[in-house]
């Protein structure tokens, strides 16, 4: 084989790789890891409590990232509601009310939820480091979960975290000519046993597109993200 044809072949292979990566980047990526107790049906997720989601999005402009605190709060609420909707429609899972909002002067209940959210934030990097270990029942938040004093019928608690990026018009054009990360939303969802704190399910759906407007894509990403959770028989 002469050197010219070798170079041509390599160029074609590179082109194919770039096309493959571009195409795969446009689809929702999802990975899900299920605790053996769920797989063996020893535990069934029938009723859940969804804790307030924490999703942060930034606007990426030519002049750098800009905060979107109001849009982030709005998106957090939307993701939270959509998780409940998808679980209800696809898996017949009932969503129970959250821990009651603390009355004026009752700081303890507010602290309890905040501390438990922080505990999940501390555990999350360890889960993300080796997600497949959820299948080995390696991660737990301990029986402190009972201090949340949730509805006694709750089987699981859902924690939602997320980060996303919205591109401005200028940055979108720049990306077309120069390249760079597209707009996206990356979620990390942990479902924890409400009785002993074991991490039962971990899933991290990603969607490509404007996180503040891509409602259908978000729904699809969540549906795929919860695909492995067994459906509750009515």
């Amino acid at each position: 084989m002469n050197p010219r044809s070798l170079v041509l072949k390599m160029q074609r292979a590179m082109f194919a790789l770039v096309v493959l990566l571009t195409v795969s980047g446009l689809h929702q990526v999802h990975a899900q890891f299920i605790h053996p107790k769920i797989k063996s049906k020893e535990t069934t997720i029938r009723r859940v409590v969804v804790l307030p989601a924490k999703v942060n999005v930034v606007r990426d402009s030519m002049k750098g990232p800009e905060g979107m605190a109001a849009e982030s709060d709005e998106l957090s609420l939307r993701v939270e509601a959509m998780v409940a909707e998808v679980l209800s429609k696809k898996k017949n899972v009932v969503t129970l009310p959250k821990p009651a909002a603390p009355a004026e002067g009752d700081a303890q209940q507010n602290y309890n939820v905040a501390d438990f959210q922080t505990k999940f934030d501390d555990l999350l990097p360890k889960i993300m480091k080796k997600r497949s270990d959820v299948k080995k029942a390696r991660f737990s938040m301990g029986d402190e979960v009972l201090n949340l004093n949730l509805d006694k019928n709750a089987d699981a608690i859902i924690f939602i975290r997320g980060a996303g990026k919205k591109l401005t018009g200028g940055k979108t054009a720049f990306r077309l000519f120069v390249g760079g990360m597209p707009a996206f939303l990356s979620l990390q969802i942990g479902i924890v046993d409400a009785r002993n704190g074991e991490v039962l399910v971990y899933t991290d759906p990603i969607l490509v597109g404007d996180p503040t407007t891509a409602v259908d894509r978000l729904r699809k990403a969540l549906e795929k993200g919860f695909k492995k959770i067994p459906e509750v028989k009515l």
Binding site: M62, K63, A70, Q108, D115, K130, D143, V178
Partner: protein, 458 residues
Amino acid sequence: MFPRKPTNLILFALCFCIVFTSFSPLALAQKKTAPVEATPPPIREEFKFGEVDMEVLEQADLLDTRFERDGLVLRDEPVNAYLKRVGQSLIPRDLELERVTWKFRALRDPQPNAFALPNGSIYVTTGLMTLIENESQLAAIIAHELTHVMRRHTYMHNRSNRKKFLTMNVMAAVGAYAPGGIVGAVITVVTTVAPFIMVATIYGYSRDLEREADLKGIDMMISAEYAPEEMVNVMKLLNTDIEGENIRLFYNDHPSLEERIKYLSGYLGARADKVTHQMELNRERAAYFGTVEPLMRHNLQLSINAGRGRSAVFHAQRLVDFHADSENLFWLAEAYRTLGPRAPQLTEKEMTNSGKKKAAEKSLKRTAEEEERDLLATPGGKENWQKHQQLAEELYRRALSAENPAPVAHRGLGMLYEKLGRTSDAAAEYEKYLELSPAANDRGRIQKRVEALKEKVQ
């Protein structure tokens, strides 16, 4: 060699301009080692709000709401009033700043830290308030943060960053369409290197602002008649790094603590001619501990939740030394139980930058339970565990025999015995706790433990 084509000439000129402007601030930043004498006026009079600044302000207001809503702000009126009193005493009289409403609050976080939002909200974490020793040190922290607001640092930093990000993006575009030949190669090299220089200037500017806040902070402390040398002592306290988490990275947005101690000491020598008497500081310490004792206990719980056993032991011991009542003894016992098989202090090797980096990587790979299990498999870990469980048991017993015994010490003993495999003793202690605290928040959890232990016994 010079480019001949007009397009190449334009590209070359553009690159030259961008690189020239990129190098200049860096060079200036490097020359500025210790601006000892002249610090700028306390407020930036010439500052005019633009659209971009209004957006930053809006984000800051929303962040305030979020901290409140998410249960991160400590709802302790006496503590927040105390912070307000210290903060207000530092602000020059009759000072009115456009779009600033001063708010001083404690944030529920065991990590020592403080920050200011441009709208005038100053947050000091419970971790930092527990670490410091007197009101002058608290004033030092608040004075530093007040300077950030008064000198409009957040807005200035944001404006500067926007210019630098735009430059970086323009450079990336130029680099992507670089022509061939030597000119193209030069452009490629320049556009590849320039972002690193830009990032360095962003961090350099941030360090300059921190330095300014440190030095202006001393001026404000002197004006409010606080002991200014306590600013240096705060840095020294922060430098103790009990948990070994102050890792030096390639880029840093704050000057190193050693550097801060050095330039602050130099500046202080030139500004203050008297040093506060130690007795005066001791009195101040006692008053400070008396005021923030409940906050310190709250922070101990946060430290224990976060697995910061070394900090918990350090702070609980200080509390016991200050006031050896039942509750403080209980907290020291809890701290030793949490410390478990870990050593109370890090070794010299663990305190090196590479040692800290290794520990951070390891902690990402192991859960707290796995770390304990691994340590218990070593002779050192076993020895530590034995020592700490004995200390914890003794302290729980002392807490229960003290005046106004804390029932929660029974729960602590129960947890300790459960870990030691003393099933019946653990169940008995838990039951005593439930009997003495019928309205406890963790009643359900402890009841479940009792049931499980009783099942085990049968």
